[in-house]
Each structure stands twice: as C-alpha cells, then as structure tokens.
Symmetry: D2
C-alpha cells in the first residue's frame, strides 16, 4: 500500500501536493448521527494556517475546506466524508533552484530515486501542507470523541524548555500566544528566540507535549496495535518528527522499578501516572500524555552547497516564506492525529466482548 | 482488529499466552525460494531465551520452535509459515497472589476491564513471552534481507550510558558479554549495576540502540507509512517500551537547521547523517539508527500494597524468577521487529514504479 | 471498516452521494511513471453516463472528472490521485414520495435501520451514481495494464440470450449499438425489448460477460484471495448484481471431471478453457471470462403499495428518469472493476519470489 | 498480501500443506466471554473428514484439532486462538506421477510458474485439506453467532437437481444421509449417481445451497463490502467453486422489476424475498440464501495425457483415494465461511452509529 490511509475503522485517506489543484481526503468509518459543527473544523484549520502570526511563515493560504459528502441535515450519515482544500497559492513560480538540485535533509533526492521523478513544486507530496487534511479529519474525530479532551502545546523550543509538569499548567493559556505555550512567561522567551532565529534566516526545533483527558478505560489492542504504539506511529508520520515518548519516556529508564510502578488507589486510579494512562497497550482511565520531538525545519534562508541530478556540486540560495520553527503550527496537527487514533480505537473497542 | 498481525506484505500473526499450551504464529507473504537456515532461527531464540546468563531471569524454557508449513526441500515455498513453541514451564503453580489482585504497572487491571476477565497465569497474553514469536519471524526476515545488516545493542542501563557514537563501536563485541553492549568496559559496569539491582529485588530500565546498514535507497511509503513511523510502531509494540527516537532524535531539537541539515556528497551520500538514513519517510541509503527506551520491569521481588478485584487494599509479595533489567534479552527482539519492517517495506517498494 | 476502499496495493477509496455536492475518490498505490491519457478517462465516463441513448435514463449529467493530484507533467507520480465529479443535477426536487416511505427492493429501509436516518435524496450513497468513481479508477488501471485487454458486453437481456461463445464474437461491434452487444442482430432484438419494457414503465434484468486477454501467468493469491474470488467480490459489489460465475460456471456442475478437465498443450496453454484462465486461484495465461447477473432495476414507473417510517401502508407512484435496463450502462463499470482487480494483483504478484 | 487471512475484525489466518507436518490457523478478534463447546468444533470437523461414508474419499485422517491459546476456564479471552491439526497421513508416498508432470485443471502448473517451484506432495497448499482450518474457525464463529442459524445442503449433483424451494424442506434431514440433501428421495438418487460415477473412476460437480436465518437487520457495509459481495468472495475462495448467486440470482435476470420487487409488510418484513435477505448490501432481517456451484473434482482415476516441466507430453494414471463428488463434504465448509462472514460483519456493525 502506498500509505496514504490511516486508521482501521475510523480512516483518513489523504491526497494532494502542495502546488497541485487541491489537497483533501476521505474520512471513512465515521459513525452516523454526529451533529457536526462545521465552523469548528474551519477554526482548527485556522490554527494550522500559514500567516497567522509573526513567528510563522508569511505565506497567504486561505485554507477553506469544502465538504462534498457524508453529511445530511447537519449530521454525519455514516457514509464517507469527502473533502478538498483548494491550493490558491498555485501560481507559476520560479522553481529552478529546486527543480534540478536536491535540497539537503528534504525528500527531493529520495523521491527521485524511488519514483524516477518528482513533482518539484514546493515539496509536492512531501510538503507539510498535506497535514491540513489531517486537521480536518481530526476536527471531526474530536466531535465524535465529545468528552475526551485533547490538549497539545509547545513545551520546548531549542534549549528553552518548560520544566513544569502539565498538571501545573493552565491549558486555557495555550491559544493566548503565538507559540502555543501555556506558560506565558516561557512563551515570551520562546517567541523572542524564534524571532532571533528568523532574523538569521535559520530555523530551530522543538517539542510538543500532548495530554488526553477523560479517556475511557479499555482502549487499545494488545500486542502489535497497543494504543501508544499507534499514537507513536501517528506522531512519527508528521513531517519533521524525530522522536516520541509517552508516560515516563526516556527519563523512566533512569528509575528503579519499585519507584516507577504506579500504585493503585482503591477506585482503580493510580497514585502516580508514569504509565502515561496506558498499561500493556490499553488505557487505564488516567491521563495519556506524550512528547513529540520536531527537528529544525530543513529550509534555511541562507546560501548552501548541494548537488544536482547529475551529481554535480551547485550553490543555491534558500528562499521563499518558511517557518523558522514548526512547532507552533504543529500543535493542531498533533491534536488531530491523537483524535483520529482515539476515535479509531474507540470503535475497535466495541468488539472486545460478547 | 484485535491487533495480533504486523506488516502489510510480509506479515506476522502471533498467538499464545505465557502459560497456555504453546505460543506461535503464522508468517504470511514471505517470498518463495529463500534457502532457510533453520539453525539460525533457533540461535536467535537462544539469544532471547530465559536462563542464558546470571543477569536475566533464571526460568528454564527450552524455546524450541517447531515449523509446520511453508518450507519444502529447505526452501520457502511462498505459502504461510506456521510455527509453534511449546510452553514446557506450564505446570500448575500458585497464582493466588495475582489471580485476584492487580499488580501495579502491569496489564492485569486493564485486561479485566476490557475483556471482563483474564488468563491470570503469569501475565497471559500480556507476557513478554509473546515476543519469542517475533524473534522467529525476524530470523526469517533477516534471511530474506541478506545483505542488510541489523545490529542492536544495549547503550544504556539506568544512568550508565554509552557516550560513544555507534560508528566508534565494534559490533562483533555485542555477543561477547551478558549485557550485549559492544563497549566491553561499559558492559562490565552495566553488568555490575544490574547484579546490584537484582540483589535488592528491584529492577532498572535501559536503552537499546539499533543500527541498520546496507539499506537500499527508496524504502518507505511517504505520508502515514513513513519507514521510521512503522519502525517506531514496531518498537513501541514491544513490552516495556516507553520511547523511540531516530537520527538526531530528541537531541536534534536543540540544533539550528543550518547545522542540522545533512549536506550531500557528489555520489548522493551525505556528509553527516542526522536524518538517520530516512528523509521524508524514505531511505536514502545511509545507515538507519534509532534508540528504544525500556522502563524498569514492573515485577519487583519486594512486598507492595495493591488492590484486588473488589477494590480492597491488599499486601502482596512479588515472587518468581524475573529479569532485573529487560534490555539484554530485548536486543534480539528489537532486531527482529526491525527485520520484519525492512522485509515488509522491501516488498512494498516493488510496486513503486511501472 | 465502512467498506469504501477496494484493493490492497492499487486502491480506490470512493465517496459521495447522488445528490450531494460531488462524488469522487482517491486512487492510492498507482505506480509512478504512467503517461496518462486524460481523454481516455473522460471517454470511459461517457460510456457510463446517463442520457447517451434512448434505452437509458434521460437524466442530463455531464460527469466531468476533475483531477486534483498525483499527476505531474502528464505522468503519474506515485502519489494518490484525488478526483471529484460535481453533481450538477442537484437542484431541490420533490422527494416527498421517498422521504418518508420505503421503496421496495431499494436500500431505503435498511439504511434507516442501520444508521438511524438516511440521505433520502435520490438514493444517496446507495445510488449507482457512485460507480462513476469506479470508472475513473478503472480507466487509470487500464492504462497501467497496457497490453491486457478487457472487454465486457451484454450477453443477455431478460430471456434474450446470446448463445454464441465469446470466441465467435467481434468485440469491435460492442460500441456500435446502444445495448453494447457485439452480435448486431441480437443487439437489435435486445434494444427492441428494452424499449417495449420502457413503455410499460417497467424494467428488466440482464447479464454482462467480461473477457480478459493477454493476462500474465501467476496473478492471484491462493487460498482466500484467489483471483476469481476477488473478481467475484468486485462484481457483486456493483449495484443490482445477483450472481457471478467464471469459466464453466454453473454449467460446469453438469459435466464429468474427465470431460471438464483442460488438457495441456506442450507450451503450457490448454486445449479447452473451462478453468476460465484461473487455476487454484492463479492465472494460467489463458483468457479469463466470467458472467455477471443483474436484477431488473427496482425503480418502476408504476403505482405501488409500500410502507412509511411508521409502518403504515402508503400508495406511491414511481417517477423520475430511470434506466429500464441497467446492463448497457453497466458494461464500463464491469470493465473498470476488472481492471482495478487486475492492476492490484499485478502489483501483489511482484512479491512472489526472491 | 499473500492472501491467507480472511476477515476484518473476526479474522482467520490459515497455514499448512496437505502433506506437511500440520495445518492450522489463528483466529483473531473473537470477542471475549464466549463459553466454547469444544466438542462442537470437533464434530464440525467430522462432517468434513474423509472416510465418513462410501461416497467420499476413503483416506483415513483423524483430523483432531489442538487448540493452543485464546481460551481460559472454558471461555474465549479475546486473545488470538491458535490451533493445529496434525497431518497423520504424511508417510512418504510415491509422488513421481505428479512431481514432474502437471495434472490438468489442478494448480500444479501455475504454482511452478508463480513461485518457481512447488511442494508437489498431494497438492501442497492448493489442496482442499486447507479448508479444515476454515471449519474450525467457522465452528467458533457459529458459537458467537448463537441465534443465527446457518444451514447448507446439497441441492444439485450433476443433472439431478432439487426443484423444491428451501422453505419446503426439512433441514433436520440434512445429516440423515451421506449426500447431505434434505430431500430423502432426491438424496437417494444423488447417492446412486455418485456411486456410478465413482465406479467409472470419474467425478461430477454439484451445487450447495445455504440458508441463514434469524439474521439481525443492518449487517453489511455498503459500496465495496456489501454483505453478499463478501459472502461471494468467501464462497469463491473454496476449492473447486465456479459460481455464486444469492436471492433470485441468475434467474432474476428473466423477471420484470414490477414482479421482482419485494413488497413490504407493515412490520418491515417483505411478502417475497427475491432480495435474499440483503438490500443495497445490508441485511433486512429476511432469510439470506445463496447457491454455490462446484466443478467436478479434477482428479480422475483414469489414464490421461499431460505435459511435464520440460513441456514434453507424458501419459499418467490418476490414482489415490479421491472424492467422486466434492459437495457432500463441502457442506460444512460453506457453512463455516458463512459463519465467519456473519461474525465479522456483526462486529463491524457495532461501529455504525454514535
């Protein structure tokens, strides 16, 4: 399979290149009877949209979703939801600097090798523009999930790292600043840092933390399809992601078992939550939380040496309007993929018992 | 789906509980014509087997694989390879301490909630014993992969961490010590530490690093099925895993794009390899490398408080023969899952072009 | 899964209701490098289109396909091909006669029961309009298949049945008449019969025969995914289909094995072809041929009694512009599904051997 | 995929060659909490077993199923059910007559072409012996389905055809005779005919009719995974099957729509049932019924000409103990596949609505 479908029962199939006519997708398996708030879908797209603040790319793309099917009299019908987002920014540009040469740490080289040629306009299919389709599907999944609350936020930009635990944070602050960090003071530092990086024509990486609350007990298919394994795959499939950890994560390695184990309360909740809400691949009702590491964006607005198709050295100048740091705009994408996984596993869990 | 199948074209379906009659599986999609060395399959199982050294569980399980189908005159036939490993250690034991109470940070509680009841004998399906089936499938995948070299090793135990880069290590040392760490000196320190932890009846976590070399260019299905996303899911599906990072991983977050980007040589290789051999989800021919974080084993041989089915507090004593640290025995499991993913994507890549 | 995806490696995901904004789909897994003739795609749609002759429905729908992605500089890129066909005939009509009552032998009743409510406008998702998406995917599959020739034709309408074997027919006659029957004389009889049925406001069933030539040897996955089993499913998934048989089919039941067996020629071809080009689920290089039975269209332009949502008897008058016989327009749909199956199994077969 | 898995949520993965060590499979996705009657599983295998009467093959195979996992304290646990049936009849035989030559209308030739070589012992993977694994899975599916009644029976052998509708038959007669035909008189005629065919060393085809009663409304995923399409694929995947029709089937072609339509009663049932219990791919609660056509067994105990691997003509003598007519033993296989499809769609239907 060419890998453009995600999910088993709640499924998103995505299509589209950054500079083709449109991107979009089909959401199949969404249960019937959900009263959909279409404005909420659009508002999630606004959170991902370029041009929303000074620390993100200044490209102008309206990103208006057009829904073709699957909804009738305001409610999902159980049939597939087809949708498209037109690429308005499609005008013929000068792509000569990327047409014949390979940008370092981009997918240009491997696409050419794998497929024999590539749509070189602005990254084509490998562009993060594809994630807009995920945000649409995630916004619908969220409405199906109803009481389950999914909050992602920026917890690190370069070396600037939020040391507070998520329980000490006020999620209502997330959207109050351009970075999407719930700690206002840290958000200010991060924003300043991103601005300084942008001035250099350079980029920087970051970490997004995601917290899922009010999760039903019993989601997750043990063995290969453990809930956290699917969440990990979902996150690692987002452009620029280099790492995923949940619960105690890489830090947990340092602990002894006697200290790491989550002791039970009498109601089945646990006193600590190093398990991150998942035990043996199945939710135990505690909060799910995980971190996602994003590398610095590969497109730097500097001059660099690279090779062309013929394997000759060429010097190129990075140009265009790019994000100096991807994490602020990636927050809604992380939430969307989390929502899709949760919706899918919610449906899968319906077949557990007689 | 109940999640006991992994892979799209090279597929493992696994079955079995730790104390049922047998565990085993079916490998479907293995190409025809591979001359199988059956001893190599068994020797991979020996690497995972309990009782192989003083720092692993002292249980005695011969773990002999019996192959039922799919091989004729020494070669794979293209038909499914069914196999079983009998559970010889199946004698009726005293399970009263886990039958009615829930071990902290195990899957006991969630299985009861999800399925209504559980096979409480030694962890049942949630036991890491299941991974023996993965090792069988991985050993066959390795023989299909031929020139691709997969080497995993222990790079961290608790706080003791290998600081050397994998290129500075001699992989031929991996099997020379009980820890499976290629740096002999560090291996000694790790072994001593595990022994001291064992004496306390406690456990500790660790990290396994895996390096894949001689990888063909062009493996990986962009978007949702990026190669590293599938590798991540494969690793996160292994018992006790809490995190996955590839290439520059979580460290990459700290770098600027201009420094992080891998510059090309004229032959298409790159001067650095922060991409970890994968760009845009597709292999570029450079080494793939990644880290997998394992939490400390939940079973500690100490007394602890927990709850029973009725939600009442009970005090229990951990007993049995358990691993004080899971990473030495998990090395062949990590390699096996890597091999399965690579074999699967090798077959998938055959449909790229006309 | 909600069942809107067909295929394993060459996959069509379809969306859309008959009276929503648009129908369409995503073709995933199409190999890169196919020089696509877009006019051929449109011309296949013309073959399926309403209003093309006097014996089909007189509705006017231009059925113009708009392709959003997956093609660059005239060639497939290996990325998903998203497309839509706008529903131009979407004006607000009077649906009162089907909104609250259930048309006999339609899907109205079961959709209401399954999903709680339904998009009652013109059949919604259960409308055969959905098959236009299949025709688009089939037209692309055909271009991938190149030398494989797929010819479907009408071989029976009501009692009027072509007794000639397909080898006695001239396929170039198929498109010469409105019925799509290669025997001109029989085509005339069938056309007259359909016209007389239409006058009565009634409908009639028919059979489509499909012949696939120049098939490579070795397509088909034995056991559950036998080639003819997948072809059967593909055909049975087309609206109004009630039966499928291949090779000797139901007639073969009457024969003795000694007479039914296909004896070999020295070059591996067979003297007879009762196997229909498939043995043990795998193609043997001989022609594949099969029959598909279509029931009479359920919508009759007569008055009939039925029930409403409340289970009360109501009398209704069938109206609108409907096909008196579905088979002439179903010919390209049968070909399309055959092409999709063949393309899919062509890709699957690439993983047979080392 | 190599096609050895059937089902989406209730899944059977099958393995094994006719003369390897064992055949068997893994049933994944069976809900937890089913109190399994293991004797019923074995008794279904007895119905399929060779040597049970004078009109079937006289081979002796005990066909005892050994279950390895997935059951605890008599109940399914929700984990995969692994099982094997040892091949006791495995002794080294003289296969020289099929090792180097290709039996007509068998899979020998295509396996060699597809995979490069084949396990030539008794048909290997292409042997109908594989269907024993399906019977095990079907027997478990039946116990999950509980109130749903599945009855298959022989309705035709060669030209001898049951003209009665299934509603006129007494299903309790099915197991009373060796043919498995509920009409005792017809059963006698069929039995005599099969005996006479056997004497000639020849074989004959037949039809099995299957009736499914007490089906819940709403099973079936519209569009590609219509219930009858999946049933069709399930049946066409059984060895020797050449055709499938449901409801009015090929006969329905002859009718006019006004006569073919099933008029509603006030309770939502229909006065007639030409739809065969399925409308638009979804069950409407009426009986499901369908016919499956089986060709005459290809192995005839006569002398015949064929070719060897080198493409040279050779004369061979059919030998061994083979079924003169496959339908009596195929009755439990048809029921098993129907049960697997129903169980699978029962689970899928759980995700229809919010």
């Amino acid at each position: 399979m060419a890998g453009n479908t995600f999910g088993q029962l709640f499924k998103l199939t995505s299509f589209g290149e950054s500079h083709g006519k449109a991107i979009g997708g089909v959401i199949d398996g969404c249960p019937a009877g959900i009263l959909l708030d279409l404005e909420k879908i659009q508002s999630e797209l606004e959170r991902r949209k370029p041009g929303q603040s000074k620390i993100v790319t200044q490209r102008k793309e309206p990103d208006v979703v057009e829904i073709y099917s699957g909804i009738f009299e305001g409610k999902t019908t159980g049939t597939p939801i087809g949708f498209a987002i037109y690429n308005t920014n499609q005008k013929s540009k000068d792509y000569s600097h990327i047409k014949d040469s390979y940008r370092p740490s981009h997918a240009d080289y491997v696409y050419d090798k794998k497929y024999g040629f590539r749509d070189y306009r602005g990254g084509g299919r490998s562009s993060a523009r594809e994630t807009a389709s995920r945000v649409v599907a995630g916004a619908i999944a969220k409405q199906f999930l109803k009481d389950v609350k999914i909050n992602a936020f920026v917890s690190q930009v370069g070396k600037i790292k939020l040391e507070k635990n998520y329980t000490q944070l006020d999620f209502s602050n997330i959207e109050s600043n351009a970075v999407r960090c719930p700690d206002i003071e840290m958000a200010g530092q991060m924003e300043d840092y991103i601005k300084s990086i942008k001035k250099e024509g350079d980029t920087v990486g970051g970490v997004i933390t995601c917290v899922i609350q009010n999760v039903p007990i019993g989601l997750g298919e043990p063995v290969f399809d453990k809930l956290h394994a699917e969440l990990g795959k979902a996150m690692l499939s987002i452009n620029a992601v280099k790492g995923f950890e949940y619960g105690s994560g890489f830090e947990g390695v340092l602990m002894k078992g006697s200290a790491h184990n989550d002791q039970f309360n009498e109601d089945g909740t646990t006193k600590t939550n190093r398990s991150g809400g998942v035990q043996g691949g199945i939710t135990n009702g505690m909060d799910i939380y995980f971190n996602v590491a994003f590398k610095p964006v590969a497109t730097v607005l500097q001059s660099y040496e690279t090779i062309n198709k013929e394997g000759e050295k060429v010097t190129t100048q990075g140009k265009g309007r790019h994000d100096p740091c991807v994490v602020p705009r990636a927050v809604p994408i992380v939430e969307a993929m989390a929502a899709i996984v949760l919706a899918d596993y919610m449906l899968l869990a319906r077949s557990n018992k007689i």
